[in-house]
Symmetry: C2
Subunit: 248 residues, 2 copies
C-alpha cells in the first residue's frame, strides 16, 4: 500500500518523485507549474559528497536515482550513518540554513532540487506542501526511532538481519520474486557503510553475513547479490515479528 501510493503514482506523474512526494497527492495543475519553474537536476558520481555537515544548504530536493547517505562524524573519526536516502526520499530542511549531516552519494546519484527560498515561498502559498512535508518528516522520525532500537538493543546478527529487511522492503515493488516467493536484491552498500549504519565494525558485518549464509537464512551470488529464500525467517532473525504488511 505504501508502494502503490509512492512508486506507481510517481511514475505516472513523470520522472521526478518530488512531484508526488511533496505535492501530487492533492495537487492542482498550477501548483505543479510553479514547482516546475524552480526545479533543476544535479548529478553526482559514486563517492562524491553532496554537502558537508554545517555547510550552507540553499536547496531542498529528492533522490531521483541512486543512493545517498546521511552521516555524522565525531572529531576522532568515529562515524554513524543516520539516514539512507533511496529514490523518492526527500533531503533538506525547510527553515534551516545549514546541513546537519554529511550527505554522500554511495552510488551514482541524480537529485531533483528546488532552490530553497522559492520553495519556501511556495510552501507559504500552498498549504498542501507543508502537510505533505510534515507527513514525510513524521515517517522519517518513525524510521529514526525504529533504528534507535536497532542500535541500542539488538545483537550484531539481528542488526544485519534488520538492515537486510529494510533494504528488501524498500524497493520490494521493484524487485523480482522467484516463483517460490524468494526475494532477490543487491546490497547497495559496502560492508563498511553497513557497519557505519549499524554501529558495528566491518569485520563483524562480514562475519555475521557469513553466519547468516552458513545458516541458510540468505544466500549470496558474488559479494552483493542476495537471495532470501524465506522472508519471514529473516524477520525472525531481525527480532521483529511484524511483517510490515508486506506479506499477505
Amino acid at each position: 500500500m505504501l508502494n502503490e501510493k509512492t512508486v506507481s503514482h510517481s511514475v505516472e506523474c513523470g520522472d521526478c518523485p518530488i512531484r508526488h512526494r511533496a505535492v501530487c497527492a492533492r495537487c492542482e495543475s498550477d501548483e505543479l507549474e510553479r514547482l516546475e519553474e524552480i526545479k533543476y537536476y544535479r548529478s553526482f558520481e559514486a563517492g562524491q559528497t553532496v554537502i558537508w555537515s554545517g555547510d550552507r544548504m540553499d536547496f531542498v530536493g529528492s533522490v531521483v536515482s541512486g543512493i545517498a547517505t546521511l552521516t555524522q562524524t565525531m572529531e576522532d573519526g568515529r562515524t554513524q550513518m543516520v539516514g539512507l536516502l533511496l529514490p523518492s526520499d526527500f533531503v533538506g530542511r525547510p527553515g534551516r540554513d545549514g546541513s546537519a549531516y554529511d550527505v554522500v552519494a554511495t552510488t551514482d546519484l541524480v537529485m531533483c532540487c528546488f532552490r530553497k527560498k522559492p520553495f519556501e515561498a511556495m510552501m507559504e502559498r500552498t498549504p498542501h506542501i507543508a502537510h505533505r512535508l510534515l507527513e514525510m518528516t513524521l515517517d522519517e522520525l518513525d524510521a529514526a526511532r525504529e533504528w534507535m532500537l536497532v542500535l541500542g538493543r539488538k545483537t550484531a546478527r539481528e542488526k544485519i538481519a534488520s538492515l537486510l529487511t529494510i533494504i528488501a522492503r524498500r524497493d520490494a515493488s521493484l524487485n523480482l520474486r522467484t516463483p517460490k516467493g524468494a526475494m532477490v536484491f543487491d546490497l547497495p552498500l559496502t560492508r563498511e557503510a553497513m557497519a557505519d549504519y549499524l554501529g558495528l565494525t566491518l569485520e563483524t558485518v562480514s562475519r555475521q553475513i557469513s553466519a547468516l549464509k552458513r545458516d541458510g537464512v540468505i544466500s549470496l551470488q558474488g559479494k552483493r547479490h542476495v537471495t532470501v529464500p524465506d522472508f519471514s525467517r529473516l524477520l525472525e532473525e531481525a527480532g521483529d515479528d511484524s511483517d510490515g504488511g508486506l506479506l499477505a
Copy 2:
C-alpha cells in the same frame, strides 16, 4: 503582544505550552479562541502509562509539567527509550491513528490535550499550525539522529556524559547557577530509565556515574541531585566539542 517566540512568552500566554509551541508564534486571537474550545487537561501519576504502543490515539497534546518517556519494546522484553518528553514537548502524530510507542509518565504528569479530529480540522484552516508542527518535528528528527550517534558509536562513559549534557541544557533557563557558574540539576530518571535511554544496563550506568564522580566531572548530593562544576569538561567527556551556544 502574542507574537514573540520565547519561553517567557509562553508563560505570558498562560499555563499551556501548546499555545506557544504550536500556535502562538504567529497567532491571531480567533485561532486561540478556537483552540481554547477543544482543549482539555489530563493528569497522570508517576509510573502510569499514558498510552500503549499500537493503541488508538485520539488526541494530540503537549506536556505541561512532569516528564514522560517514549519507549519501544521487543517481544523478549528488551526496551529502548526513543524520546524524552519534557514540559512544552509535543506528543502525537497528526494524520496517524495509533501510537507507535509506549508513552509512560516517569513523574507526575500534566498534559494539555486536543481531540485529534478538531485539531486536524483546525490545521487545515490555519496553515501556521502545520508550519509550526513541521518545525517541531524537524527538531525531534535532529534530536533522534543525534541520539543515533550516541547509541551507535559512543562509549558508556560518553553516553552518560551526553545524557547529563542534554538534561542540563534542556532546562538550563530554569536552573540555578552557582556564583562560579556551576550547573545544578536533578536527574528526572532512575538508573534503569537512563540505561534504557542509553542502550546500557543499569549496573553500567551506576558504575559510570560513580566513575565521573570519582574523576571530579560531577558531584552528587544524594542519588539524584547533580552538580557540574565545569560544563565544558562534561561536554569534552561527551565527545562533543560544541557547546550548543549555551556558554558565552
